[in-house]
């Protein structure tokens, strides 16, 4: 790690897998294949040549786009030497289902514990994730074509099909609105100083390995002696040009199969609230946006131009609302003026008025880039209330990308989503994703509080579990040259 910034080289967009830059939103058909290596030589041979969609803007959009990510056991199965793999992050190497302590922190308890997952734990750990995106009508034939190619090297562990609901997740809410804006042009200087305003622009290094992050530093990744890369397949590290950078232009990818009980969600809310309209009102408070994605902060400019500085008590958007937990939108200091006295007081914690707002700070170090896709055919609110019969399985294949699984996905999931004391809450988990298990002291965590100006918090208690985890894993999404390097003959 180094503070020095070498002249910012432009990003090699043709070496970056496209998913880091695009959501492939025109490619409404998608499928995620979880594979295990059965013949390493054949697997490497295919991976080393298969065309991948990169991050260069192509017009018209290609009919199909393939992306590849590899798990830690996958690296071993492909024959990557341990001395190379050891440079990957500890979280990636341990895996999402690596141990009970991690599961406890991520809230993967009871029916969401890895022991009951469909895939992702033990023998059912995938090696390679293939992400197939296609324009309407183009997926099925291409998928068969690809399968004929990879079948010699891999066996299929699971296929995660997706459905397109026009950018809505299965509860019916518009999804994927809040995304960090990645600094592809490297405008943001690679230095370490406090940011007094919440800002959506995020350093490239928060999402791409090999570039400076928000601390102005390079995140740890495998840097190899050039002797390991005699053919010069890999880019050189910016901060240490004598070393080959296996991480550069790559990222970590988190995948979780989340099953959503959509019918149960609406029926329970309608029962508690007394009717469908009031159920929608409660659901919007729980999400922190309207069904159409509008923020609950009236001053918001557009769907994303807002923060919660003027709503410290959660009177407009409840503190515990899902989107407020997942992205609290705060700066490095609690709100205040830019004057030197105000800054010093906040720096030392002497501004008692804003201390309650300072329990959570510096959101910029905990951003995630979401690329999830829905699956199944969820019922609408009206259908759920009209027809009490059980419905088909539906949910979200949650995907997020980041250069640091521990500081980004795991932090947001454990401290903000699962944490029952988020920003001073009285003891409640995320209204959508919470596991509902009582705390170690026996106190329930299954309430949702809505602060109000004219009385004590309104509370909905006894929330059932609406979302459970049925599979998950950590993957390395390599740069395209890095993938060739990893799969080149040894």
């Amino acid at each position: 790690m180094s503070n020095e910034t070498v002249n910012p080289r432009p990003v090699e967009l043709d070496d970056v897998q496209g998913i880091l830059r695009f959501g492939f939103s025109h490619h409404t058909e998608g499928c995620f294949l979880l594979l295990q290596v059965k013949n390493p030589a054949a697997a490497c041979a295919w991976l080393s040549n298969v065309p991948l969609a990169n991050a260069v803007v192509a017009r018209p959009a290609p009919a199909t786009a393939l992306q590849v990510a590899i798990s830690s056991p996958g690296l071993t199965a492909l024959g990557v030497p341990e001395e190379v793999a050891v440079g990957f992050s500890e979280e990636f190497r341990a895996g999402m289902a690596g141990d009970n302590d991690r599961s406890r922190r991520l809230g993967d308890l009871d029916c969401s514990h890895p022991s009951s997952w469909r895939w992702g734990a033990g023998e059912a750990t995938p090696h390679v994730l293939l992400m197939l995106y296609a324009l309407p009508g183009k997926l099925a034939a291409w998928r068969r074509e690809l399968e004929a190619q990879w079948a010699a090297g891999f066996s299929q562990l699971a296929a995660l099909d997706t459905t397109d609901h026009g950018g809505r997740e299965p509860f019916g809410f518009r999804d994927g609105i809040s995304q960090p804006e990645i600094d592809w042009e490297r405008r943001r200087p690679a230095e370490d100083h406090d940011r007094l305003e919440y800002d959506n622009l995020t350093c490239l290094g928060e999402f791409l390995l090999g570039y400076p992050n928000e601390y102005g530093l390079y995140t740890d990744r495998p840097l190899l002696d050039s002797g390991r890369d005699p053919d010069g397949l890999l880019p050189r590290a910016e901060e240490r040009p004598e070393l080959a950078d296996l991480g550069r232009n790559g990222s970590y990818l988190v995948l979780r199969e989340l099953r959503q009980d959509v019918a149960g969600f609406w029926r329970w809310l309608a029962e508690q609230a007394g009717g469908g309209d009031r159920a929608r009102g409660w659901a919007e408070a729980m999400v922190g946006r309207t069904v159409d994605g509008k923020p609950l902060i009236p001053e918001a400019q557009g769907l994303n131009g807002f923060n919660y500085d003027a709503d410290p008590e959660g009177l407009r958007c409840p503190i515990g609302a899902h989107v407020r937990r997942a992205n609290p939108r705060n700066a490095d200091y609690p709100p205040g003026t830019h004057g030197i006295i105000s800054r010093v007081r906040r720096f030392l914690g002497f501004d008692a008025r804003v201390l309650p707002q300072d329990l959570v700070a510096s959101t910029r170090f905990h951003r995630i880039l979401r690329r999830g896709r829905a699956f199944g055919e969820p019922p609408s609110l009206e259908q759920a209330l009209a027809d009490p019969s059980p419905t088909a399985q539906t949910g979200l294949h949650f995907i997020c990308l980041g250069a640091n699984i521990g500081r980004q996905f795991e932090f947001v999931q454990s401290a903000w989503i699962v944490g029952t004391r988020f920003a001073g809450l009285p003891g409640e988990g995320d209204p959508l994703l919470g596991h509902r298990a009582p705390g170690p002291d026996g106190h329930p965590t299954d309430c949702f509080s809505v602060p109000r100006v004219d009385g004590p918090d309104q509370r909905l208690c006894g929330l059932p579990r609406f979302i459970s985890v049925c599979g998950g894993g950590y993957f390395f999404l390599p740069g395209i040259r890095a993938l060739r390097f990893l799969t080149s003959p040894r």
Binding site: R105, L217, A361, A415, P456
Partner: protein
């Protein structure tokens, strides 16, 4: 007001007794990292003045790093440490522990060198007590009893307050009066207790005042020669900062597992870390001076709910061990480890750097406060590598965070306040 005190008993583990000691310690917990409050060895839960306590087998963690300076590490061996935070004087707490858990403590310290089964236990504990150089208490004067009583009050009120909008301020006042009457009935029936604070011990008050004034006075006295020497001191500091090696290798997966197994079992966690001080007279002299300053700041400035911007630390302490060769840091904090480290880096990196940059291998600092812990990856590896597993950890009020405690205190204050207006009554109800 009852002030809080830290205690720390430390003794070398006798040769060949480590395995037995670890087995005994493991038996004291109901789950890894959660001491059974009724465990037969040391039933922590029976001691009403005990906030937090821990038992640790301290090894030679990080001492080998001395070789970075060409110094061969001293043979320190294993130590058994019992440390905790209590209401009132530490001496009285140790006496009480010796009196009421005598058999268990004899079994524990029976694994230590030179423990005489026939000697007076309390005297032995006092003889093996070590002074804490710098101590932080989130709120000086808040007792275990107060935390429990106010927590019960909050639960009682929170369960009973009608969660419906109030039409007017008058209605809020009426509801408040009604709730207060219910609390009073509970108090009379002995189901709720709201004890008045004890008077502040006069000796403590005087000593605290002397400390508050004495340390700045001392600083004033030594400032002229220090001022004269300041160009040399500044030059010396910068040259050391440039040449001191930064050493933060990745901790092993086994070490991380051992630490994580003990964490996040509740809302509050423990942290214990130890490391050798950089050799040489400059750093060895700087450490006690900085600890004196930190202790002064904690006692007189940051004693009301926050240590600079960090509001989640219940207790923290710095202890110099082995004649200044190494420093121990131990704390109790709310939230998970990753969030605690995040606070360290993003809110108080300067404070950490001030003291810990005198430890071998700390991420490179500039002018004692800049950079250092802001070097995120390096710092995170460093702190984990210096962390010591806390075999036995007792939390006197599990499930109650500092934020809960702050809110509960405001509820109690609002309950006891006279002449409350309509707005104040509503604000109080909204706390529930």
């Amino acid at each position: 007001m009852t002030p809080q005190s830290p205690f720390l008993v430390i003794a070398p583990v006798a040769a060949g007794r480590e395995a037995g000691l670890r087995a005994l310690l493991d038996g004291m917990s109901s789950a890894p990292g959660v001491a059974d409050p009724d465990n037969p060895v040391l039933p922590f839960g029976r001691f009403e003045r005990l906030h937090f306590a821990r038992l640790i087998v301290l090894d030679e963690t990080a001492m080998a790093d001395l070789s970075l300076y060409g110094v061969s590490p001293p043979r320190l061996g294993l130590r058994l440490m019992l440390l905790g935070d209590c209401d009132g004087p530490a001496r009285a707490q140790l006496d009480e522990l010796a009196a009421r858990a005598e058999d268990g403590l004899r079994r524990l310290f029976g694994h230590c060198e030179g423990f005489d089964p026939n000697a007076d236990l309390a005297a032995w504990l006092h003889a093996h007590s070590v002074r804490t150089q710098a101590n932080y208490v989130n709120w000086i004067g808040r007792t275990v009893r107060q935390v429990h009583e106010e927590s019960a009050l909050q639960r009682f009120l929170s369960d009973r307050v009608p969660r419906a909008p109030l039409a007017s301020g008058a209605e809020a006042q009426g509801l408040r009066r009604e709730l207060i009457a219910q609390v009073q009935a509970e108090v009379s029936a002995g189901r709720l207790r709201l004890s008045a604070p004890e008077p502040t011990p006069i000796g403590w008050w005087l000593a605290n005042l002397a400390h508050a004034l004495g340390i700045p006075l001392l600083a004033l006295l030594v400032s002229p020669p220090l001022l004269l020497a300041s160009p040399w001191l500044a030059w010396r500091l910068r040259s050391l900062e440039r040449s001191d090696p930064e050493y933060c290798p990745r901790p092993t997966a086994e070490h991380l597992r051992a630490l994580r197994e003990l964490e996040d079992r509740g809302h509050t966690n423990q942290f214990t870390a130890v490391g050798p001080v950089k050799p040489g007279p400059f750093r060895r002299a700087l450490v006690p001076v900085l600890l004196l300053a930190i202790d002064w700041g904690a006692r007189h400035i940051f004693h009301r709910g926050h240590l600079a911007r960090v509001q989640t630390i219940h207790f923290a302490r710095w202890v110099v061990l082995d004649g200044g060769a190494r420093v121990l840091f131990a704390s109790n904090y709310d939230g998970n480890h990753e969030a605690y480290m995040d606070d360290f880096i993003n809110k108080v990196a300067w404070g950490l750097n001030l003291i810990f940059s005198n430890g071998i291998g700390w991420p490179r600092t500039k002018w004692l406060v800049a950079r250092g812990a802001r070097r995120e990856g390096c710092f995170k590896r460093y702190q984990r590598a210096h962390q010591v597993p806390t075999q036995v950890w007792y939390d006197g009020y599990p499930g109650v965070t500092l934020n809960d405690i702050r809110r509960n205190r405001r509820i109690r204050e609002g309950l006891e306040q006279a002449g409350v207006g309509e707005d104040q009554a509503l604000a109080w109800l909204r706390l529930l």
